[in-house]
Amino acid sequence: MGIQIDLDKCVGCGECLSSCPFGLLEIIAEKVYLREGCTLCGACQEACDYQAILIEAAAEAPAASDSYRGVWVFAEQRNGKLKSVAYELLSRGRQLADTLGTELCVICFGHGINEAQQLIAYGADKVYLMDAPALSSNQDDLYTKGLVELIEKYKPEIVIAGATSLGRSFIPRVAAILKTGLTADCTGLEIDPETGLLLQTRPTFGGNIMATIICQTKRPQMSTVRPRVFKKGTPDGRRKGQVIRVDFNKQRITSRTKLLSFIDDITEAVKLEDANIIVSGGRGVGKAENFQLLEELAGVMGAALGSSRPPVDDGWVSYSHQVGQTGKTVCPKLYIACGISGAVQHLAGMQTSEAIVAINDDPNAPIFDVATYGIVGDLFKVVPMIIKKLKND
């Protein structure tokens, strides 16, 4: 099993060289050779017109256990209130479950949660609720063990969770214990019409390349999804469903780590993730003091303040404002990017915004490729003009 290049068929045209996302192919003496690191993605096989590249399929794997049924969504909470990402995933989960003709269950751990009915209204067929004081703070160990137990008992075929700091830290542990596959930070989830497998699409190389991944034989197929990738649906109060209370047995489920305290660092008035309008600054802002201009615009518009990575790295704004690959993903109605070049890592965090306005003095800045409206100009001139217009009208 593996990849083979038939040197007799290879004519050395080099078409495959640029298709390899990892740059592992090279031409030596007019034939193609492959360096180490191949992930068998098949891009080169597709690119070759001479059938010189052969990727053998894996040996017939035993068919996945048919006894795994159902789509599960893990709903994250903070202080008894469910996070928006839970509802976003629920809506998408509902669509996946409908395609598969199977049920949708929501798993909820926490304390003082009273949104179970609402979850049903948004599409859940069942809600497994484990409510106990010990679960009020997000303790990885408790959540991990709790979810593993439920999965082993009820055997869902698909489990999805938010790619939040909680999700990205405990879901991989669940996957490792169950020895199953997990795909992180998915931006797309589809069901393959032929195989019924979950097709998980995610960005790699900072968003430069998209990869579609499957978990062929292991179950459940697990994915984490970034907040704001899917849209929250509309609730239907007439929907019926079951709320199943799960017993939290302290003896069985314990935590090795202890949460000593929580420090609330967030100081901004309008929370970035929930804002309808975001005014965001990048390297073009120049220095920390200049962010005051953007704050003024944000104030006039009732917007939240965002930032690309460079101003955070340089200490001009705090990390809680960072939008992008290693920051927050946002999807406001309006995203105003000032002095932001539009590097792929930043776009990954905001390109699904409904409307994007870009203000940059470099006409070639990539941000203009995604902007709905672009102004090529000095932000220090343009932003005050916008503020003036908004105040005068």
């Binding site: 640029s18 990205r168 405990f170 579609t212 709905t372």
Partner: protein, 261 residues
């Protein structure tokens, strides 16, 4: 123990607009930037509390360069896990391989990983590794406050603030870049790196089951790779700047994106 990965140098990979394919000439391999923070933290722990820093990487033979680099910035020793059987591994198989190597080393107190790599971006190896070793895990550590008496107290980042967590040792942590500023190599470090002997452990030496590593040991696999399409349907405004600013607001109001008069 610090787990690191060698990744391609520029995450900003250029796309040839005509062929819509990657332009990858002359991109150097580097240590995954987040892993340099992990290594630096390991060295700082050693400086504060004593101990030994071992760097481990699973990768092709050229990953040895990355290991030498971290010896020059403070790792005491390094081990490369390399075997054609390891190729094509997803995070499950990678974690399994790393876990076998770590278990072979027997003595370990703190295992540090970077929060994610710039090529895979999954951030899954840290937590999966912890489960395979059967030890606790804390993600996104932004500060190690104290290590005492078999316990470690850390501060970690979450979306809306920080949590202070206490974990028993041994433990796995992943770190964020806010945790420190990695040091430059020193001349003595570079000399040590040049002459260091880096053992290469194969699947056989790890006693690894071929079905648990590499592509065979992967639960997931990539079936398709494509380049994201960017459809440009925006408008670059024209005219003098003040006119553009006014026109922008008018258009946003008209499209009901913002409220207005």
């Amino acid at each position: 123990m610090v787990c690191l990965k060698q990744v391609p140098g520029t995450p900003k990979v250029n796309i040839d607009p005509q062929t819509n394919t990657l332009v990858r000439q002359g991109i150097k391999n580097i240590v995954n930037p987040f892993d340099t923070y992990a290594l630096e933290e390991g060295v700082r722990i050693k400086e504060r509390y004593g101990g030994k820093v071992t760097a481990i990487s699973m990768g092709p033979p050229q990953a040895e360069e990355a290991l030498r680099e971290v010896i020059s910035t403070g790792a005491d020793e390094a081990i490369l896990l390399s075997d054609s059987a390891f190729a094509g591994a997803d995070t499950l198989a990678t974690s399994h391989t790393l876990a076998r190597a770590i278990n072979k080393l027997k003595q370990y107190d703190i295992i540090i990983c970077g929060r994610q790599t710039t090529d895979g971006d999954t951030g899954q190896v840290g937590p999966e590794l912890a489960e395979m070793l059967g030890i606790p895990f804390v993600a996104y550590v932004s500060k190690i406050e104290e290590i005492d008496n078999g316990y470690m107290r850390v501060k970690r980042m979450v979306e809306d603030g920080h949590e202070v967590i206490e974990t028993p040792l041994p433990t796995v942590i992943t770190v964020v870049k806010e945790i420190n500023v990695p040091r430059l190599p020193s001349l003595r470090g570079l000399a040590r790196a040049r002459s260091a002997v880096i053992p290469i452990w194969t699947a056989q030496e790890l006693g690894a089951d071929k079905n648990m590593v590499g592509l065979s040991g992967s639960a997931t696999r990539v079936i398709r790779v494509f380049f994201p399409q960017r459809v440009h349907h925006g408008e670059i405004l024209q005219g003098d700047l003040e006119g553009q600013a006014n026109s922008l607001i008018d258009k946003l109001r008209e499209a009901k994106i913002i409220s207005g008069s």
